[in-house]
């Protein structure tokens, strides 16, 4: 039974078709990766699933109920959380306050929300930064903050837009481990990732997009060997 289902999504911006009839399912507890060259429509798809864009055709369903046309805050409250590719911390708020905003979507009790936020910061390894202002964090720390903030909304599906993008090499293993732990804990994840070593290691399934269309969908092994994926994205050198 699929938890998240993307069915026939098409999105045009003027003459450009960012997504053309994209369909795939994500089963409960699954970790699905999305790959594709720049401009292939990965982020547009995320904006549609999370309610920021309305598709021109197609439907997004969570556990059978339609999310299409709902506002982003409704989508989040129904259980789909996301992070942003271009990180958007609440720069003027403290780190713990950032996470509290997420937690307050599920509880009305400010004290309870603060306790939960501190727990989550502990889990993503930002506990000692809790009272610092978010603007003082490094990129890697901001990624962790966005993760904690999204987790605080208690999502059923978490959309991660580039876990390792823009992060220095040393921080990558920690972030990857974090995603693995979340998955092991039972969370369903949909992850956009450019780093092939990372995505093939964590994902159970990979969806490849090219020029807005889905060109492959399968196990990491199968997709990375797929003729069209190699031609469109990975290049010949990858297979050798």
């Amino acid at each position: 039974m699929s938890l998240l289902s993307v069915a026939g999504i098409t999105k045009r911006f003027g003459g450009i078709t960012a997504n053309r009839d994209v369909s795939f399912d994500v089963a409960s507890g699954e970790l699905v990766g999305i790959i594709g060259p720049n401009g292939s429509g990965k982020s547009t798809l995320f904006e549609i699933i999370s309610g920021f864009y309305r598709p021109d055709a197609g439907e997004v369903r969570l556990d059978g109920g339609s999310l299409t046309g709902l506002s982003p805050d409704r989508v989040c409250r129904l259980g789909v959380a996301r992070t942003f590719q271009k990180l958007r911390p609440f720069a003027g708020l403290t780190v713990v306050d950032n996470v509290m905003v997420g937690a307050l979507t599920r509880t009305h009790d400010v004290r309870h929300a603060r306790a939960r936020a501190r727990d989550l910061l502990d889990r993503v390894g930002l506990a000692e930064k809790a009272d610092a202002h978010a603007r003082t964090l490094s990129t890697g720390q901001r990624k962790r903050l966005e993760l904690a903030r999204a987790l605080a909304t208690e999502p059923r599906v978490l959309l991660l837009d580039e876990v390792t993008g823009g992060v220095d090499q040393r921080s990558i293993p920690g972030l990857v481990q974090l995603v693995r732990d979340l998955h092991r804990g039972g969370l369903t994840l949909l992850v956009i990732e450019h780093n092939m070593r990372v995505i093939t290691a964590v994902a159970q399934r990979i969806v490849a997009l090219y020029l807005g269309e889905k060109i492959a969908d399968g196990t990491p092994d199968a997709v990375t060997r797929d003729r069209r994926v190699v031609d469109a994205y990975l290049g010949q050198a990858y297979t050798q």
């Binding site: 999370s50 309610g51 920021f52 506002s71 982003p72 805050d73 989040c76 409250r77 959380a81 996301r82 942003f84 958007r88 911390p89 609440f90 720069a91 003027g92 708020l93 403290t94 306050d97 509290m100 905003v101 997420g102 307050l104 979507t105 009305h108 009790d109 400010v110 929300a113 009272d131 610092a132 202002h133 603007r135 003082t136 903030r149 999204a150 605080a152 909304t153």
Partner: protein, 324 residues
């Protein structure tokens, strides 16, 4: 978050005012400080906490002033009823402005709010049959608390102190409650707030409507205290700027800031006018120059507002960037 002791000290000092001071001029100053402080605090709900920089809040102030004055002079209705009617009207207009804020961002919203207050100014100054037009409305003095006719300034002090305390508590709520945290998130980054389940649009509209209603209440009490409603004053851009200036000078988005800013502006303006206002033709208007210079110097040395400046210099701790 800062402690509340400076606010307690501020309001306690204001409450002691009428006991220590009998001088009518000083009591008048205290009443105006509290009224302008409350108005700036009401502005702060939208401009500071919700991050919607309005330059047209005089519109709501004027609605409050006119509602009570017109109902009182034309139909003999108590200004307390007028206060509620003004607040109701302001809430309705606040909703309209709130919806506008979801369409127009930043400077465009600011410009729309100016236009809004100017439209009301034109209506008030041209609709002679109903509003008495540009002549304005004198508010007749009818003794009694129900008609807000109090000759004793001390009663006025406590009345506006009550209003000021209410405004302080509203802001404190926005500092500490769930809605307050959510509103702060909307102010910082609306899309990120939406992605975390915050109903950003509804919150913004609500904040602007509440801010409008409270500003109207300030307008009613001000008009009843001063005893005259002049359309070119109550709907002026000057007045809108005064609310916003007081909040920014004192500390935008802080509960006590608007009151400190209003105190600075009111004391400065009143004392300079009393000192320089009457002398020879060559120096007429010099008080405005001094006033302007002091404001510029304040912003230069306390860009985050007076509250923040005091916090920094009295406790010697950095305010931004590190843990409190």
């Amino acid at each position: 978050m800062r402690g509340t002791w400076p606010a307690v000290a501020f309001f306690a000092a204001a409450a002691l005012g009428p006991i220590v001071v009998r001088d009518a001029f000083l009591l008048d100053g205290l009443i105006l400080i509290l009224l302008w402080g409350a108005s700036a605090a009401a502005w702060n709900v939208a401009g500071g906490y919700a991050g919607q920089l309005s330059l047209g809040h005089a519109a709501f102030f004027g609605l409050g002033a006119y509602s009570a004055a017109l109902l009182g002079t034309r139909w003999g209705v108590s200004p307390w009823i007028g206060l509620l009617v003004g607040a109701g009207l302001a809430t309705a207009f606040g909703f309209i402005l709130g919806f506008l804020s979801n369409r127009l961002r930043g400077p465009y919203f600011g410009l729309a709010t100016i236009a809004f207050s100017q439209v009301l100014l034109i209506v008030a100054s041209r609709w002679r049959g109903f509003t008495s037009g540009s002549e304005g409305i004198p508010v007749p003095f009818r003794p009694g608390l129900w008609t807000l006719g109090m000759a004793d300034k001390r009663v006025w002090v406590y009345l506006v102190l009550l209003l000021a305390a209410l405004l302080y508590l509203v802001q404190l709520y926005l500092e500490r409650s769930r809605r307050g945290y959510q509103l702060a998130a909307v102010r910082e980054d609306e899309d990120a707030a939406l992605s975390l389940g915050v109903p950003a649009r509804r919150l913004k509209v609500a904040a602007i409507a509440v801010s409008a209603a409270l500003t109207a209440v300030c307008g009613t009490l001000w008009a009843q205290y001063v005893g005259f409603v002049d359309p070119f004053y109550v709907f002026s851009v000057d007045l809108s700027v005064r609310f916003c200036l007081a909040a920014i000078l004192g500390g935008i988005g802080t509960p006590l800031g608007p009151f400190l800013g209003a105190a600075l502006i009111t004391i400065l303006e009143t004392s300079l006018r009393a000192r320089f206002g009457g002398i020879g033709a060559g120096l007429v208007g010099i008080y405005l120059i001094i006033y302007g210079v002091v404001l510029i110097v304040t912003m230069r040395f306390a860009p985050q507002g007076l509250l923040s400046w005091f916090g920094e210099h009295l406790r010697r701790r950095p305010l931004l960037g590190t843990a409190p």
